[in-house]
């Protein structure tokens, strides 16, 4: 093993430790944040008895769940029942490995370590655990594994509520996976690369993709909400209908794993939204290219802030909206988002070709042109076509005349 490889491995392990720790601690804090945010929206206080301002609440929950009795329904398929939380938990963590959490940092070391020997590393180090050349496909592939966990949980519990939750979840995930994938194709077209860091570079050169691909961002965001099973798409665990949906029969730590997976998914999707459409760790002004540790830290903070905003958005939406009905959810996915994404791909392709033919090659100008195109598109989609009609499913009517008698 060469010293370079050793250095690379050491750094990777370190990065893994840091990222996974941060994500898991983040998940714990997010559960608290969710409770605090909801309390804040609902004229309440939220947990504030344990630790300072309730900061230890997730710890108390965790301790309690670890020492709580694990129940196994008598008729459940024991193997799958145990496997299901793990299947939904692992992909959620894996996904956080490919997100670049900050600008590359120049690392330069040459160490002699006991047991390992010489290890050295020179050059820029990506702040993703693995900046895969197929990062993008990796995300799509792994995130669709998560649905197995939920579907298996629903099926193996041998409970009707769980079964319905699992079925709903499978249908929902499959449908929105398509929309999500399609919505990302314009990003690929524009970036010309599937690596996250390259996508960020493309946004640095041009505009952030939220400007040049606004509709894509919209589709991705909606699908992201659906993929994470968050309200208004939380049908698999619709509390008022299916008690707790697919995890009705789960107790203690197995149940916690589902919760951790949900919040980890939320972090990942938020980070992807930030990466793909809001320039990732990019700060306008381009001063972060020197690769210093300070730049890495600042960009990581910026990335964190962007993701945090989307996480907050998740919670904001959750505590504001009613839930979709199953057929409306399907209608939204198949009749609205997927056709829209397909049309949008065509539009972007044509626009790119036209830009190329017109000789406009400067990325910023290209982005501005696309922004104009998107504004037109938004107007058409939201103000001419939709106005809430497509969501109403099979039935719609004019707003009822004033109900006063």
């Amino acid at each position: 093993m060469t010293p370079e490889l050793k250095g690379f491995l050491i750094l990777t392990v370190l990065k893994m430790l840091v990222v996974f720790t941060v994500v898991l601690v983040g998940v714990a804090l997010l559960t608290l944040m969710e409770r605090k945010v909801s309390a804040w929206m609902q004229n309440r206080r939220g947990p504030n008895r344990v630790g300072w301002a309730g900061l230890l609440q997730p710890a108390a929950d965790g301790v309690k769940n670890i020492v709580k009795e694990e129940t196994f329904p008598a008729e459940a398929n024991q193997l799958l029942f145990i496997l299901a939380p793990a299947i939904s938990f692992i992909p959620a963590l894996l996904l956080s490995g490919v997100i670049p959490w900050g600008a590359p940092v120049n690392v330069d070391f040459d160490w002699h370590l006991p047991l390992i020997g010489y290890a050295s590393f020179h050059g820029p180090m990506s702040l993703a655990v693995a900046d895969l050349p197929i990062g993008f496909l990796f995300v799509l592939a792994i995130s669709s594994i998560g649905v197995y966990g939920i579907a298996l949980a629903g099926w193996s519990s041998n409970s009707k509520y769980s079964l319905l939750g699992g079925l709903r979840s499978s249908a929902q995930m499959v449908s929105y996976e398509v929309a999500m994938g399609l919505s990302l194709i314009p990003v690929l077209l524009l970036a010309g690369n599937a690596t996250f860091s390259e996508i960020i570079k493309a946004q640095q050169q041009g505009l952030w993709f939220v400007a040049s691909l606004t509709l894509s961002f919209f589709i991705f965001m909606v699908s992201g909400f659906a993929e994470t099973n968050r309200l208004p798409f939380d049908l698999p665990e619709a509390e008022s209908e299916l008690i707790a949906g697919y995890h009705t029969e789960y107790s203690a730590m197995k149940f916690s794993l589902f919760m951790i997976a949900e919040y980890a998914n939320m972090i990942t999707v938020s980070a992807m939204m930030a990466t793909l459409f809001f320039g990732g760790w990019d700060i306008p002004g381009r001063w972060d290219e020197n690769g210093s540790a300070l730049a890495g830290l600042v960009t990581a903070l910026v990335m964190f802030a962007k993701s945090f905003f989307f996480i907050f958005l998740f919670m904001w939406v959750r505590w504001s909206f009613p839930r979709f009905r199953y057929d409306q959810l399907m209608a939204l996915g198949w009749k609205f988002l997927i056709p829209l994404a397909l049309i949008y791909i065509v539009v972007i392709c044509v626009a790119m070709w036209a830009l190329g033919a017109a000789g406009i090659v400067h990325p910023k100008i290209q982005g501005l042109v696309l922004l104009g195109l998107n504004l037109v598109g938004i107007y058409i989609v939201f103000f001419l076509l939709d106005r809430g009609r497509l969501l109403s499913g099979s039935y719609r009517r004019q707003p009822a005349a004033e109900a006063r008698g």
């Binding site: 004229n43 041998n158 319905l164 504001s320 009613p322 009609r389 109403s392």
Partner: protein
């Protein structure tokens, strides 16, 4: 050709002596049914379920997520109110009425007092009437607030529940100041009230009426034009006017179907004919119209409250209780100093107020619908029969009809839109 019924947790099929299954499959599939269509699942919702508003139990026969049949099972909160009432004096029944429809206790108290007064032929004073109107309309507001919040939860929106409970707490404060209890008010007595409102109470209620509609406006902003909300509620659980009448529905359920019937307008009591208010009537008979009707009713109740407060100010110092010594206890001071008054007090408390033989039915417009108390008396101080006409019991009876062909999520929404309270249904 499969006519299999999926029964997973419901029952183990038993065998009779001859070894045949003693329990029949739920659906007898017709020859020619396609395989997919013939496979039904039986889902049991409740009695302990977040969306059944208590202990209602719904057995749903599902085909996929479509409800083929909905069979409500009630009685899980049957406490024997009517039987208990036969062992109580008329005034002792008042605390029981708190606990039937516990979402609007004061309106129930008022209904009981009115029915007993009708039975005994007692006139109440004008100030008492105004105070009872205030009690009824406060109850309507808090009951509808709970409805609004819980329906929001059932449809997935949690936040309005807490907003509406915040306003409910304000009414609780007023109730507590008036009656000493937050929920079980026992406000009325036959011929009058348990107590007059305390000093400064009107100002508190005025403050409430002036500000609480802000919450309604917020909810209105959140829901009324929300496309998810409209999609979930419009065209779901539709009942036409004829069906609604045939099902004996009452209250907002009936009015949302387009029947302009309100006990306050059509058979006025407590001088409701002299108040200026509108009765909102829907036209489609779906959940959305029920929502609109109830929301508007809260605004209208607010109007009534404001008018009643004006009258209350005019009637300051007027007598509260009727001057009928058969039913009204002598003042405490006299009972403590005057022998006759004390004997009278003692006899009235211990022996109760005898009602003349006869019977009386009186219906009032409760938040849930027409609440009717039906007394049969035989000349003693305890009723032979105390019958509650429970509006939500009768409204709920149309649930199987409303749920036909709906989706599972719709059943929850429909059930919420009926606005049931199990204490009243099961009694």
């Amino acid at each position: 050709m499969s006519t299999r019924t999926v029964e997973m947790a419901l029952a183990t099929p038993g065998l009779d002596e001859r070894g045949r299954p003693s329990r029949l499959p739920l659906s007898i599939g017709q020859p020619g049914d396609d395989d997919m269509g013939a496979e039904h699942m039986l889902v049991n919702i409740g009695p302990q379920h977040p969306a059944t508003h208590g202990v209602l139990r719904l057995v749903l026969e599902l085909e996929g997520e479509t409800v083929k049949r909905c069979i409500p099972h009630i009685g899980y909160l049957h406490s024997g109110f009517e039987k208990l009432g036969e062992y109580r004096h008329y005034n002792q029944i008042v605390p029981l009425t708190d606990r039937t429809d516990y979402l609007s206790p004061m309106a129930n108290n008022v209904c009981l007092a009115l029915a007993a007064e009708k039975l005994m032929g007692i006139e109440i004073t004008e100030r008492c009437q105004v105070l009872r109107v205030i009690a009824c309309e406060m109850s309507r507001i808090i009951s509808h607030l709970v409805w609004l919040g819980t329906t929001g939860i059932d449809l997935g929106a949690f936040t309005p529940f807490l907003w509406s409970f915040y306003q409910r707490e304000r009414i609780y404060n007023l109730q507590e100041a008036w009656t000493g209890a937050r929920l079980t008010t026992s406000l009325t007595r036959i011929g009058g009230m348990m107590a007059d409102v305390p000093d400064g109470w009107e100002a508190g209620l005025r403050d409430f009426t002036a500000t609480f509609t802000r919450t309604l406006d917020e909810v209105d902003t959140m829901f009324t034009r929300n496309s998810i909300w409209c999609g979930r509620t419009q065209g779901v659980g539709v009942l036409t006017a004829e069906e609604a009448i045939n099902f004996s529905l009452s209250g907002p359920m009936l009015r949302a179907s387009g029947v302009d019937y309100d006990v306050r307008k059509d058979r006025p009591y407590l001088g409701y004919e002299t108040y200026d208010f509108d009765v909102p009537v829907g036209e489609h008979g779906d959940i959305y119209d029920r929502y609109r009707v109830r929301l508007e009713e809260m605004y209208q109740s607010n109007r009534i409250l404001e008018q009643a407060l004006d009258r209350l100010a005019r009637l300051k110092g007027a007598p509260l209780n009727t001057d009928d010594h058969r039913v009204i206890l002598p003042p405490k001071g006299r009972a403590m100093s005057d022998m006759e008054a004390m004997i009278h007090h003692f006899k009235q408390v211990m022996e109760g107020i005898p009602a003349p033989a006869g019977e009386a039915y009186l219906g009032v417009e409760n938040p849930k619908g027409e609440l009717g108390y039906y007394f049969v008396a035989d000349g003693t101080a305890k009723p032979v029969r105390w019958r509650i006409r429970p509006p939500s019991f009768i409204n709920l009876a149309c649930l199987p009809k409303l749920c036909e062909g709906a989706l599972l999520s719709d059943v929850i929404a429909i059930n919420a839109s009926v606005d049931i309270v199990m204490g009243e249904i099961d009694r």
